[in-house]
Symmetry: C2
């Protein structure tokens, strides 16, 4: 799908939330909703919702509202969730284990197919039906397997080297949990989860509450 570069990142970042809410509506058997009702549930203004969704085409109908099934499906396609992704995790500490064990990702088409670590105590142990492999065999692995997303849950000192290796081997998506901003070519997409930054945003807000 061609991306419209005029669509701002803040709109894009709201899309998964729409997708989540619409999924919950479907689960409760609701197949039609007005932008006003949706706005109340999502704590956004109705006009904000109309603006957001108009970026991707005309999903609403005056006097009818949104067809939940249709809209859910369209957002699924927009988010690229109508295809499957192969993921590897580099760094199988607790966080690597947590991500690998979370079944929600698999349901949405994100499949973990390779796990890597440097720790001899972890190498050879299994998570689900995957054995953790030696990170020093990663280049060989990547030469024989096409991977969409590399998940980085390793210490930040080792992250740049791992990034270079996966990029050289054609990986285009990086989900980065290492507390460092990565330098990558333009055709590589990085999504950062900086947990420390998130916690500091919380302390900023807390330190001002009475």
């Amino acid at each position: 799908m061609e991306k419209d570069p005029r669509i701002s990142l803040s709109v894009i970042k709201r899309l998964p939330r729409y997708y989540r809410y619409l999924g919950e509506l479907l689960d409760s058997g609701i197949d039609r909703i007005s932008s006003k009702e949706l706005s109340m549930r999502m704590d956004l203004t109705a006009s904000q919702i109309r603006q957001d969704l108009n970026n991707f085409g005309c999903f609403g109908q005056q006097g009818y509202g949104y067809n939940v099934v249709l809209l859910h499906n369209e957002i699924k396609k927009i988010l690229g969730l109508n295809q499957d992704y192969k993921l590897i995790i580099i760094g199988m500490g607790n966080l690597g284990h947590a991500l690998c064990n979370y079944t929600g990702f698999h349901k949405r088409g994100f499949h973990f197919v390779g796990l890597f670590d440097v720790d001899p105590k972890l190498i050879g142990t299994t998570v689900g039906d995957l054995a953790i492999q030696d990170v020093y065999s990663l280049d060989k692995y990547l030469a024989h397997n096409t991977i969409d997303i590399a998940v980085l849950t390793l210490p930040k000192a080792n992250a740049p080297e791992a990034v270079q290796l996966v990029i050289e081997n054609g990986v285009k998506g990086i989900w980065n949990f290492s507390n460092i901003d990565l330098q990558t070519p333009e055709d590589v997409v990085v999504e950062n989860v900086h947990l420390s930054d998130s916690l500091m945003t919380l302390s900023y807000q807390l330190s001002g509450t009475p």
Copy 2:
């Protein structure tokens, strides 16, 4: 510290990143930097940096640049990092363990003081020097301990009940990893880490790359 409500959330969310970069500069022995140099390192424009930092006072000096020690300290104060926080974790699966074991939080003044789970196999086991407690004893615990932040790493179905309990007991900060948007009073601050949303943002961007 009084918060200026005119300061936008996007500015606030950049502050931890400034703090991180300035800390790295200090570690490398750099105690003075121009907004131009800082902008190149951070991949922001120099004017963006000046605008951001002017929200909090006048830190730069024409022709001299920024005093790194001073600016680092000021941002530390702004982020509320000149005080300590007591945290509990509700849900001690892999993610709870990962957060509890991450030493970086402790260094910044975030101290885990109570761990809770519902699983009899986990209750009584220790992480560091803390024993995991039965979540059904949480109300009693909160009645005797003042907690700043509750970390929610439990399944989303159980999150609303846990939130109600911690709020009733005076907890003002919630770091939410459960995949649900919480309803909270105005004086309670919620910082969400929606991992599924983050991964879908990545797939959105990936599905458009060649």
